[in-house]
């Protein structure tokens, strides 16, 4: 016969154990709050800031300048003028820009004479900002057309939409580098947080301290292992993304720095978290607090420039942002300059974190 008293006794036992388990409490109560704060901030829709867009105004008359001025006044686009002498499409590619607006040289004269003229908008269908830019330009074009003195005349200004990338990039093309970055973060991070706190608890590190093995050697072996794993998962994800989902990504040796520096950074960071935490449970909590926001704010699943401005600023201090951005630069945009910048940031950061992890981690009791 079912005993309510026994149910209550066991319930109390379980509840006490649950409440004393920091990991359980974190995932039950704190983690959902973190998720809602993160996603609420990202998708709250406000404060995204104007989208920076390069504009090449080839028009020598006043109308081109007026057009640019109106674009600026929308508050949605922040136009940056590009010199007329440059190849505009190449300029956009060199600057990894998904959007660009080109006003033709005969803009003013054609409009004045009522002859059709087109404003060219370069965009990336896989980028959510492009949709916004297209809408804004369309609106401004319509506005200029309505200004015509002749109400029954056909619109003079048209919008010519061209794709910025050499092929039409799909969302999967951006997801592959994002998920590679995701794996580069999570594998070493969760593992090292767990290992370093567990080994501290079991006093295994103390025994290792009595051998010639140094902390640097121990951490280096972990870095090598996770570099190997990141290479393997890169290959697997690229193969699956390409053959199953038709992803178009560029494979190049320039990907390698990110598959090496990323693991170096996150192995060291995981070690640091395990070092400063006093117990296995608190290490897991701290590890999740560091990892999950980084996962969602670094451009893993959606572009950073779709987030509110303040979150974009936060993204730029996250190491995973540079891993994913670097992979995008190589695999999608084929841009060496920004890629080298990402490598430099990661290299400096990884060296500092590695040195800190080795220095702060104590193998002995005191």
């Amino acid at each position: 016969m079912v005993s309510f008293a026994r149910i209550v006794s066991d319930l109390k036992l379980f509840g006490r154990g649950y409440l004393r388990n920091k990991i359980g409490l974190f995932f039950s109560l704190v983690f959902p709050i973190i998720l809602i704060l993160l996603f609420g901030s990202i998708f709250s829709g406000g404060g995204g800031g104007p989208i920076p867009v390069y504009v090449q105004n080839r028009d020598s008359g006043q109308l081109g300048a007026q057009f640019v001025g109106v674009l600026n006044k929308t508050g949605t686009i922040n136009p940056t003028l590009v010199d007329n002498s440059v190849d505009f499409k190449q300029y956009l590619l060199d600057h990894s820009s998904s959007e660009g607006i080109q006003i033709p040289g005969n803009f003013n004269s054609s409009y004045a004479q009522g002859k059709p003229v087109s404003v060219t908008v370069y965009s990336n269908p896989a980028d959510t900002s492009s949709g916004i830019v297209l809408s804004v330009v369309n609106g401004v074009v319509n506005g200029f057309n309505y200004r015509q003195a002749c109400a029954t005349c056909t619109p003079v200004i048209n919008m010519n939409q061209l794709t910025i990338t050499s092929q039409s990039a799909k969302y999967i093309d951006f997801l592959v580098p994002g998920l590679i970055g995701f794996t580069v973060l999570t594998s070493p991070m969760f593992s090292l947080v767990n290992i370093s706190s567990e080994y501290k608890k079991s006093k295994f590190f103390k025994q290792l301290s009595l051998t010639p093995l140094t902390k640097t050697e121990w951490l280096t072996s972990k870095f090598i292992w996770y570099t190997f794993l990141s290479l393997l998962s890169f290959l697997l994800m690229t193969v699956v993304g390409t053959y199953l989902f038709g992803a178009h990504v560029t494979l190049s040796v320039l990907i390698l720095p990110f598959l090496v520096l990323g693991p170096l950074f996150f192995v060291s960071l995981g070690m640091l978290v395990g070092t400063v935490s006093k117990s296995v449970e608190s290490a897991a909590v701290v590890g999740n607090l560091v990892t999950f926001p980084m996962m969602f704010l670094s451009g893993t699943f959606f572009p950073v420039n779709t987030m509110p401005q303040y979150l974009q600023t936060v993204a730029h201090v996250l190491p995973l942002f540079y891993v994913i951005d670097g992979l995008n630069q190589v695999m999608i945009y084929n841009n060496i300059g920004p890629m080298l910048n990402d490598v430099l940031v990661l290299l400096v950061g990884a060296v500092i974190v590695f040195a800190s992890a080795v220095s702060l981690f104590k193998w002995r009791e005191d």
Binding site: Y199, S202, K203, K206, L210, P212, L213, R364, E365, D366
Partner: protein
């Protein structure tokens, strides 16, 4: 092979004095046993000797190496068994011993022979391919003992090596320890098992509340405790530790 010299060793944890001006010498090849109640400071002393803890004051010298100033050279010649040894549970016995031997830079061919012989000596040959995590406590202790002695060591420091072992295994381990001493290895160990200490120790020290209360061979301890010449070690121990409380 070497001498262990502990001089004026003290260890404080804030207000708590774990060790208070401890001095002792262990000669080459001696089996020196530390005895004392729980919390007396035995483990603290052993941890300082092997370099896991730093002393507040005093020195520890193994051969010519100071454990604080020259830890790498000192650790190279120490074999250590902690009170509850941690082993890689995901490795087999052979894999774990190979890992330890390679870290200790034991040459490959020598290591293979040493592991084979040690498994035979400790009668755990059939466990060589078993995962460490699946072993009984006694077998794990044997594996840990083998691991502590694979390299070329002059000192063997063992913290409660008999803890949790059945009587047959305890006797085996004690005979093995005595054999180490006969080979010239200097052994320092702590134990609660007074019978075995009486049978195998060259000399003993009784430590209580962080101080050495008595040190010497069995006869010397009996004289210090002012017990009869036939007094057992447990009587001597109780007498000496009662006097300090």
């Amino acid at each position: 092979m070497g001498e262990l010299l502990v001089q004026n060793l003290s260890k404080n944890y804030g207000e708590v004095i774990a060790l208070n001006n401890v001095s002792l010498r262990v000669n080459t090849g001696e089996v020196f046993v530390l005895l004392g109640p729980n919390g007396a400071g035995k483990t603290t002393l052993l941890k300082i000797v092997v370099g896991i803890l730093k002393p507040t004051r005093g020195t520890v010298r193994l051969d010519t190496y100071d454990i604080v100033n020259n830890p790498e050279d000192a650790k190279r010649i120490i074999g250590y068994l902690p009170e509850n040894p941690s082993l890689y549970t995901g490795l087999t016995v052979t894999e774990f011993l190979q890992f330890v031997g390679k870290i200790r830079k034991v040459p490959g061919d020598v290591l293979d022979v040493k592991i084979r012989e040690a498994l035979k000596t400790f009668d755990i040959e059939e466990k060589k391919d078993a995962l460490v995590g699946s072993l009984s406590k006694g077998t794990k202790q044997k594996v840990a003992l083998i691991a502590s002695s694979l390299h070329d060591h002059h000192f063997l420091v063992l913290d409660e090596p008999l803890s949790g072992l059945d009587p047959k295994t305890q006797r085996f381990v004690n005979q093995w320890i005595a054999g180490m001493g006969r080979k010239g290895v200097t052994v320092l160990l702590s134990t609660h098992n007074l019978d075995i200490a009486q049978e195998y120790a060259s000399r003993m020290a009784i430590i209580d509340k962080g101080r050495i209360v008595a040190i010497g061979e069995m006869e010397e301890l009996r004289k210090l405790a002012k017990t009869g010449s036939e007094a057992r070690l447990d009587d001597v121990f109780l007498k000496l530790t009662e006097e300090t409380s």
